[in-house]
Subunit: 303 residues, 2 copies
Amino acid sequence: MPEPFIDRLIEAIRAKNSPICVGIDPMPDKFPAELRPGNLRDRDAVVAAIDAFGRGVIDAVADVAPIVKLQSAYFERLVWPGVQTYYELIRYAHSKGLLVIGDVKRGDIGATSEAYAAAHLEAMNFEDHPPADTPDAITVNPFLGFDTLKPFVDVCKAQQKGLFVLVRTSNPGSGDLQDLRTESGATLSELIADKVTGIATEAGLVGKFGYSSIGAVVGATQTHTIESLRKRLPKSVFLLPGYGTQGATAEMTRAAFDQNGLGAIVSASRSVLYPPREAGEPWQNAVRRAATAMRDQLRNVVG
Amino acid sequence: MPEPFIDRLIEAIRAKNSPICVGIDPMPDKFPAELRPGNLRDRDAVVAAIDAFGRGVIDAVADVAPIVKLQSAYFERLVWPGVQTYYELIRYAHSKGLLVIGDVKRGDIGATSEAYAAAHLEAMNFEDHPPADTPDAITVNPFLGFDTLKPFVDVCKAQQKGLFVLVRTSNPGSGDLQDLRTESGATLSELIADKVTGIATEAGLVGKFGYSSIGAVVGATQTHTIESLRKRLPKSVFLLPGYGTQGATAEMTRAAFDQNGLGAIVSASRSVLYPPREAGEPWQNAVRRAATAMRDQLRNVVG
């Protein structure tokens, strides 16, 4: 049995002195010219390009980032061969010593959440095929109610995996529902945060550093609420998307970190995957440079 | 270009005089003995059984139900071969004249929702493979905010597809968030309903019967709120899950229908897929009998 997800994550953050997560959102039309498929309607060529790009990104950031996040949607768009590539890239990232978040944002009624937890977190020990590596943690959507998180939490306990529950997302319209003030005076996000803390502190989920394997997604763009949510979620590591292309800076994430520089990982996708390149520069150098610059900016803020 | 989703749905409901949706949630351990895989860890055998079961259910209900709903989670659990079977069953259902809902409950920030909309609604016109049929409509989760629905709505307009937005789900904990009363006095579900009506009445979405291709998921188990939501969603067809195993009866769904017996489809999965069998009865007969009994109970209520 591996160590708890949260301990593996914190050890990797410390070993690399880097609180960043590289989001792998493969958008073939933005790929570097040498990988870009000539015909975006040639499925086999696009899948091969996504595979090559994903491996190249993993190689480029393996010693800069402790963890990568694969966005399922960009793989699902290539139907089943895309899903196969998703699982193969998880295995490849693991082989390079990286932890993996599956950004799947699943959530459904109990029996169905069990099936999703099996698909996305459980070890896939089929007897007629090699095991398919699943992510170390996934993102989940709590809208259906807290009973629907239980099957995911159960798998986390049994198999030392982790969750990042959506609490406050990074998109422009995230306040439509999440900032609504309820009768209790708390916003919807704050109510969810309190409930997530109840789950995060259940027996078997808090690791040796005092953090839980049940984390929270809090958009780095949502500076008005990061501090309030940090207080309500003392045991949860924040996964902060929205850095870079979506507009958040390192400074904006300061309130998510504790005095030891722990408690948060900041995620960027497009700004690291598709950075400007210098003339003649290999594409992986540019990716590595973007990830390193992001890491250094965060070190300055949380160090 | 096909007719709008909503017109195709209403015509099929009328032609079959049946407001039911059969949910295809393949749970291999519940399959009829003649299809049940001997070893649930033999992936190829399980995928083959799911395929055979799905086709058998489609054959059994093709003239009893206008529409079937495939629950993505049970296919994702078999990783990429499961996803392939999902798309193949959509094609098979279409070949039998059935409409298809993909129960995927996706929702993410804008750029990612575009990729999900492509994966789950758009025609997949790859040049190196036959097109993969996508569902006629999918379920979507609005938690991230209404900007995140726009990419799905855009595909619906361009390709005559439909959505069922989660407004009030059928599970026991659905009230945790969805029944919260907000400062305006409305519950979260009611607020979402009002916003969905704003989208459902946009140009190009309301069909010739006065209903919109943008529908709503409202749990049949949630009788305390069906009437209130019906008033707030005058243009949206309700997809009502929760019939049968989850506890809802035909009578409980009455308030979702209009005086013409339109405006709602009631969905059942386990009670239709895994019904009691008489001695020696072929399994598809039992499925057909369960679907027919459900249809008749609903005809009595809405007829």
